[in-house]
Each structure stands twice: as structure tokens, then as C-alpha cells.
């Protein structure tokens, strides 16, 4: 990849500024910072380059690359419950957002809105029993799930092959195990350090 300086491309720079204004209230504006762009390695660039062709249904491939509905942080309520909203847009077989970040383990309340012309279901990981929410077209649903350990959990639409066409999502639970579960040894180096 060629990392050209934005200053040598006045048109790009102007466009960048415009976009930043347009997206000032949006987290995604951070992606446009030169400092972020500089961090992109060639593999990530190739993925980003591929996106226009695989972020729509039935373009480069039959379905779309998942999880492609963006990322959102669950909000922690006064009651300690984390909450997030997930939207199903028309004709996309997509969860928006498709990556939900929980700052730590606990209860996550999800509110779904199905704006699609298809019947969907949300099939959710939860300790105790997996949960499912039916989402008839133009209806919503709500579920409270419990995830108590750091890691990556999968959710998806179990109707037909909606999952294969894009309706897969992830819940990322950040955080650590309780102190008394940790190994008695000095702090260790982790990968990348």
C-alpha cells in the first residue's frame, strides 16, 4: 500500500474535511483520521477495498460479508443492565449494528426493530438457555441475555439461511475474571507487547 500524505491531495483533504463535518456526531468519523489510516496494514486495506462489492446483497457474492452492520457499545444503565438497540434494515439480511460491545460481563438488554419485509428471529447466546425472539416484519422484540465471561459470543437469525447471507452478529464481552480466579504469578506479557 502507498501511504500518501493528505496534504499532497487537496481534493481529498477537502472531501475529508467535509465528511468530518457531516459526520461530526458519528463515531465513524474516527475512521477518517489520518492517524487511523496510517495504522491500516495491507491486509486491512484489502478488506476495506473489497467492501463496496460485498456490503450489498447479491453483488460480488450471493450474500454479504458479515458482520457488516457496524459496531455499537452497549450503554450501562443506572440499574447496571447494559442496553443496546439492533435494527434490521430492508433488503439487506443484516443486523445494524452487528457487533455489540459489553464493557464487562452481566445482563444485556437488546431491543430489536425489524424494518425488513421478511420474518426474522434473533437467536441469542445466554447463560441458562439460549434465547430466541421472533421478529415479524415491521415489528420489534426485546430480550435480556446474560453473558458473564470475557470473550466473543455469536448471535444470528435462525430462519432459513438468513445467517449465511449476513444475519450473523457478535457480542464482545470485555473485562477480566475475578481476582481470586487468577493465577498466583507475576503479571505476564501478552501478545503484541
Amino acid at each position: 500500500m502507498h501511504r500518501s500524505s493528505p496534504s499532497r491531495h487537496p481534493t481529498l483533504l477537502a472531501g475529508l474535511a467535509l465528511s468530518m463535518i457531516a459526520l461530526a456526531s458519528c463515531d465513524y468519523v474516527r475512521l477518517l483520521r489520518p492517524s487511523v489510516l496510517k495504522q491500516l496494514n495491507p491486509r486491512v486495506v484489502r478488506l476495506v477495498d473489497e467492501l463496496p462489492a460485498v456490503d450489498q446483497q447479491n453483488e460480488a457474492i450471493v450474500g454479504r460479508l458479515f458482520p457488516h452492520g457496524g459496531l455499537a457499545h452497549a450503554e450501562v444503565g443506572k440499574d447496571g443492565v447494559m442496553r443496546s438497540r439492533i435494527h434490521v434494515p430492508p433488503n439487506q439480511f443484516l443486523w445494524e449494528p452487528s457487533v455489540i460491545v459489553m464493557p464487562h460481563g452481566g445482563d444485556l438488554e437488546l431491543e430489536f426493530q425489524n424494518e425488513d419485509h421478511n420474518f426474522h428471529m434473533a437467536f441469542l447466546p445466554s447463560t441458562g438457555a439460549r434465547q430466541v425472539v421472533e421478529l415479524p416484519m415491521h415489528h420489534g422484540g426485546r430480550a435480556r441475555i446474560h453473558l458473564d465471561q470475557p470473550g466473543l459470543y455469536w448471535f444470528g437469525c435462525p430462519v432459513a439461511n438468513h445467517a449465511g447471507r449476513g444475519m450473523l452478529g457478535l457480542v464482545m464481552v470485555k473485562g477480566d475474571v475475578p481476582a481470586d480466579a487468577k493465577l498466583d504469578r507475576p503479571k505476564q506479557r501478552r501478545p503484541g507487547h
Binding site: Y28, L124, Q149, V177
Partner: protein, 583 residues
């Protein structure tokens, strides 16, 4: 610059980005449904299990051989014999054994370790109710006579849980009205045995350190004992005890000492911090001596011994400890300074012979160790593996002479990296006085490479590629009084299922290609066989309900196939518990 073109195309970017949540306009629709358990069956058709578990106490488990209709603890009895006095199914009538019922769980959606999950659990049976665990956090309570489900429970397991080998669980423990198990991500969870709802939940390993859990807990007195997995991640192995009533931790013992502690002289520098010595197979227990016997795993890194000079205590050891506080009574290290990944985790079978209290341990290094279980003194070491080239062990002194070690360019050594016997268990038949063990006959090419430790990453210090050709398996009957083989039955692939021996003169065994077999305990002759459809890497049990004897086996190929039967990697998968009885 291509990525810039993507990011700046005439406003399309803005439009595209604004479809995402942060900026999107979301039309509101009526919320019509609240989340519910996955199938209607969960809500409408499952029932409370009969209250059979509240009467199970440690005292009753200690006398479990007196109630052979039940399988009350992981090995059936505290002594680890996997021997049942049930004799309705016998060498004379086993030909008529038929499928009574089966339970199938399958897999829904994405799971951790999707190519290697396996059905390895030993069920527990109490007065007609069977409790069995699976991959990915599952526990089921079933009617042991019909297979009808009473309840199920699932602990959500993350996709990125640091498993070494497979998404597996080897079983639950039952006591005081609770079903207790260790989840793959290291929670000890106690469920109400009637309803399957959680009573307490304690975290006992650190997934960020590469730890996990796969073994079945052991109930001792008022406690439940669990051991850690993760020996391929440079962890410090440990065994923890929790109070059954409250879930409160009673003690934790590390299997590898810190500097200054007893045994630390067998380590140098910081190596103890990544020392291994995990405890991923359930121990056995002698209530009279008040000693728990547990096997410990390989040191870390697995193959690069130069990274950890010394004997590396108490890795690859049989340890005997006091269950009240976890204090070590004695140890016997079967493979000092292991550089072949010959974990010493395999079961310890307690039996008495000639007035002596003995212990038998088929080690992965290819030798059977018979010890005096009161003091850990060696009675005899004898070779049971077919091809054993890594070294020799003197039968009476136990002195180890190493012949072959891993090298940078690779060394061909036998047995292979999973040893001459995988974790599945041997049994001891009180009628014949023989031990029956599954055996793997394969070799491997072992290499070393220097590796810096990084927390949460595999820490092998090399690798081992198991041989793909010429691999064989056996069930061997061995006389513990002499170490000699009474008979041997050969199979076309390594045998990685547990044996079950019964007073009906039978030895049950599962094959890696799915056959479930009954052998004559006296001769090893094949008397009955049934194809279950997927390889068997589990432990058959027997029990009875209303006077009818059942034999069950979990069928579902997986686990560390690369180590124990690489020629069968990618074979058909399954997840069925099959239960047999006479018509």
C-alpha cells in the same frame, strides 16, 4: 491509493456510513415479543426431574459399589475401577444386546472449536435419572430408562475460549440435590438437580491466561474438587475445592511450587511461572486413608526442555493429597523432565492385593506403574505400550533412562505426542483380578524451537507430528500382580475410549471408527459389536432401572485427533448418547 478512493467517493461514503446505527433514522415498530428460551419445548414440555439427588452424599458415594443400579461418581466408585457388579448382561447373552434409546444433541450455530468438539462425557445415574454434560456448556437431565428429557441447561461459552484440543466436557458430579460441573470457560456451576436452575457459580480459572476446564468434578466430603486445563498455554496447574452447599472456595493447591516452596529446587529462574502441571482428569479417593490421588500434566513449554532445566516437580506426577486442605502427602513422578508431552494426568485405579493397598496408573509414557498407595513406593513398573523408544524404566527401582528427545531437526519417537494411552480410562475387574486398558500404538516426529512466553498463547516450544501410517490400537488385559499381559485384542486404529468391566464377564470398549464392542473378559474374544455412526472417545457405563440393566456410550468423534489418530481427522461427526439393553 485504493483505500482512499473507497473512503472518498462523491458522497457515497457519507450515505453508506449514515445507514449505520450511530447516524441512522430508525422507524419505530411495535415491540411484540420478549425473548424466551430457544424452543417451545423448553417452556412447555420439560419437567422437573424426580428428587433423587438430594439423598446423594459423600458417604453414599463411598459405598457406591453396594448400589450397582446407579453410577454415582465419575468412575462409578471412588476407587476408579470402572467395574460394575451388574451381571444381567453377560458373556452368554450379550449377542442379543439391542438399542433401547438414544439421545442426540447436535450443534446449533457457531461454537468454539467447531472441527474438534466431541462427546466425551461419563453420565451420572441416580435412581433412574441420568445427568450428562456436553460440549459448549450443555448439561441434560434425562430419564435413564427412556431418554426423555427432564431439563437442559447451557452456560454460554465464548467462541474464543482458549481450548487446547476440543470443545469437550467429561461429566458432572451429583451430591446434596445439586448437579455440579465445570464449564469450558472455567466456571464451577451448581444446578438444582430437579429444575436445572443455577444455585451457585464460581469462576476458578483465568481464560485470559489460557486456562480452561474439561474434567468432571469429584465430590469429597462436603466439597467438590476441580482441576484446571491449559497445559499447552504455559499456565500454573491447580486443583480447587469448593463447599457444595455455598460455593465458597475452601482451598486451592498449585501443582507446581513457587520459589522457596518444597520442590522449587527442581526449577530454575522464572520457569515456574509457565510451568504447566495441570489437572484435567478427575482424581480418585481412598476415604480410609483420607487421600485423594490425582495425575498432573506436562511441564511448559511442552517440548523445549532447555527452557526449564530440572526435574520440574510436580508435573507428570501422581500426587496424593489430603482433601481437607490440599496438602501433599506423597508424589511419584512418572516422567521426570518430560519433553514429549506425556502428561501424567491419566487415572489412578485403587485396588487391594495380597493385603496391600495398591494403585495402578497407565501412564502415557507407555509404562504401567503399580504403587503402594499409602506411601507412594513403587511396587513395579512394566511396559504396556507396543513401541516405546523415548526411554526405559527399571521395573523395580523405577530409574528412568532417556534414549530419544525432541530436536531442532525433528526426532522420530514412540509413543506419539498423545502417548501410549489417551485420557480414556482403564478398568479393574474384581472377578478376574485383571486391569483392562485401551492402548494407542503410534509414533511421532518431535521438534523443538525456542519460544518467548506470551500470556494466553500456546506455549509448546516445538511441535510433534503424529504418524499417519501403521497406527494400531489395542485393548490389553494386564495382571497387576506381575505386569504381564493376559490377552490383547488388536484394532485397526488407536483405541481412545474407556473400558468398562462387569461381573457379567464382559469388557466394553468403543472404537475410533464408531463400533461399540463387548469383549470376553477372560479371553478378549469379540462377542458383540454395534456401529454407532461416529468415533467413540468417551467412557461407557452400566446401570439398571426397575431391574433392567442398561449399557450406555457417548458417540461423537473429536478432540485432539491430530495427536492420537491423525488418520481419522475429518471423519464423520456425531453427538449421540446410545443406551443398550437386552430385549
Amino acid at each position: 491509493m485504493k483505500s482512499m478512493k473507497l473512503l472518498m467517493p462523491n458522497g457515497a461514503l457519507v450515505a453508506a456510513l449514515c445507514t449505520v446505527t450511530a447516524c441512522a433514522h430508525q422507524p419505530q415498530s411495535p415491540v411484540t415479543e420478549q425473548g424466551r428460551a430457544f424452543t417451545a419445548r423448553d417452556a412447555a414440555e420439560t419437567h422437573a426431574a424426580p428428587d433423587v439427588a438430594s439423598g446423594v452424599t459423600a458417604d453414599r458415594i463411598a459405598r457406591a459399589r453396594g448400589e450397582p443400579q446407579n453410577w454415582l461418581t465419575y468412575y462409578g466408585t471412588y476407587d476408579g475401577q470402572r467395574y460394575s457388579t451388574l451381571d444381567q448382561v453377560s458373556a452368554g447373552n450379550v449377542k442379543s444386546l439391542k438399542l433401547a434409546w438414544q439421545f442426540q444433541a447436535g450443534v446449533i450455530g457457531l461454537i468454539a472449536s467447531p472441527a474438534t468438539f466431541a462427546f466425551e462425557a461419563t453420565p451420572i445415574v441416580v435412581d433412574g435419572v441420568m445427568y450428562v454434560s456436553g460440549w459448549d456448556g450443555y448439561v441434560w437431565a434425562l430419564d435413564a430408562a427412556t431418554g426423555k428429557m427432564f431439563w437442559r441447561y447451557r452456560h454460554a461459552i465464548p467462541l474464543d475460549v482458549p481450548l487446547c484440543c476440543g470443545n469437550v466436557n467429561r461429566g458432572v458430579a451429583v451430591a446434596s440435590g445439586k448437579v455440579i460441573y465445570a464449564t469450558q470457560n472455567g466456571h464451577v456451576v451448581a444446578l438444582d438437580a430437579r429444575s436445572g436452575t443455577p444455585v451457585w457459580d464460581q469462576v476458578f480459572v483465568d481464560v485470559r491466561a489460557g486456562e480452561s476446564a474439561t474434567m468432571a468434578p469429584l465430590v469429597v466430603k462436603n466439597m467438590v474438587l476441580v482441576g484446571s486445563s491449559g497445559g499447552e498455554y504455559g499456565v500454573r496447574g491447580h486443583i480447587d475445592a469448593f463447599d457444595i452447599a455455598t460455593g465458597r472456595r475452601v482451598w486451592r493447591r498449585y501443582n507446581v511450587p513457587k520459589p522457596g516452596e518444597q520442590g522449587s529446587e527442581t526449577w530454575t529462574g522464572n520457569a515456574w511461572q509457565w510451568a504447566g502441571g495441570t489437572a484435567w482428569i478427575t482424581g480418585s479417593y481412598d476415604p480410609e486413608l483420607n487421600l485423594v490421588y490425582w495425575g498432573t500434566g506436562n511441564p511448559g513449554p511442552d517440548f523445549d526442555g532447555d527452557a526449564r532445566p530440572g526435574a520440574n516437580l510436580y508435573t507428570n506426577s501422581i500426587i496424593a493429597f489430603n482433601p481437607d486442605d490440599g496438602a501433599l502427602k506423597w508424589y511419584y513422578q512418572t516422567t521426570p523432565h518430560d519433553v514429549w508431552d506425556y502428561d501424567g494426568v491419566n487415572e489412578n485405579i485403587l485396588f487391594d492385593q495380597g493385603g496391600r493397598k495398591l494403585l495402578a496408573h497407565f501412564d502415557r509414557n507407555g509404562y504401567l506403574f503399580v504403587l503402594d498407595r499409602a506411601n507412594g513406593q513403587l511396587v513395579r513398573a512394566s511396559k504396556f505400550g507396543n513401541r516405546v523408544t523415548w526411554g526405559d524404566i527399571d521395573p523395580t527401582s523405577g530409574k528412568v533412562t532417556v534414549r530419544l528427545t525432541p530436536s531442532a531437526q525433528g526426532t522420530e519417537i514412540c509413543p506419539g505426542p498423545a502417548g501410549a494411552k489417551e485420557w480414556p480410562h482403564a478398568s479393574y475387574n474384581q472377578q478376574t483380578g485383571l486391569l483392562y486398558t485401551p492402548v494407542m500404538d503410534l509414533c511421532g516426529t518431535f521438534t523443538t524451537s525456542r519460544q518467548d512466553f506470551r500470556e494466553g498463547m500456546p506455549y509448546w516450544g516445538g511441535g510433534a507430528a503424529a504418524s499417519k501410517e501403521g497406527n494400531r490400537g489395542y485393548v490389553k488385559a494386564i495382571d497387576p500382580a506381575t505386569g504381564r499381559e493376559a490377552w490383547s485384542h488388536e484394532f485397526p486404529h488407536p483405541v481412545v475410549a474407556s473400558t468398562l468391566s462387569t461381573a457379567g464377564g464382559l469388557v466394553f470398549i468403543g472404537e475410533s471408527t464408531g463400533e461399540f464392542d463387548a469383549l470376553d473378559a477372560k479371553s478378549g474374544e469379540l462377542l458383540w459389536s454395534m456401529q454407532t455412526g461416529s468415533g467413540i472417545h468417551s467412557s461407557p457405563i452400566t446401570y439398571s432401572v426397575n431391574g433392567k440393566q442398561y449399557v450406555s456410550v457417548a458417540s461423537g468423534w473429536g478432540g485432539w485427533m491430530k495427536g492420537f489418530a491423525p488418520e481419522l481427522y475429518g471423519e464423520t461427526r456425531g453427538s449421540a448418547l446410545m443406551v443398550f439393553a437386552l430385549p
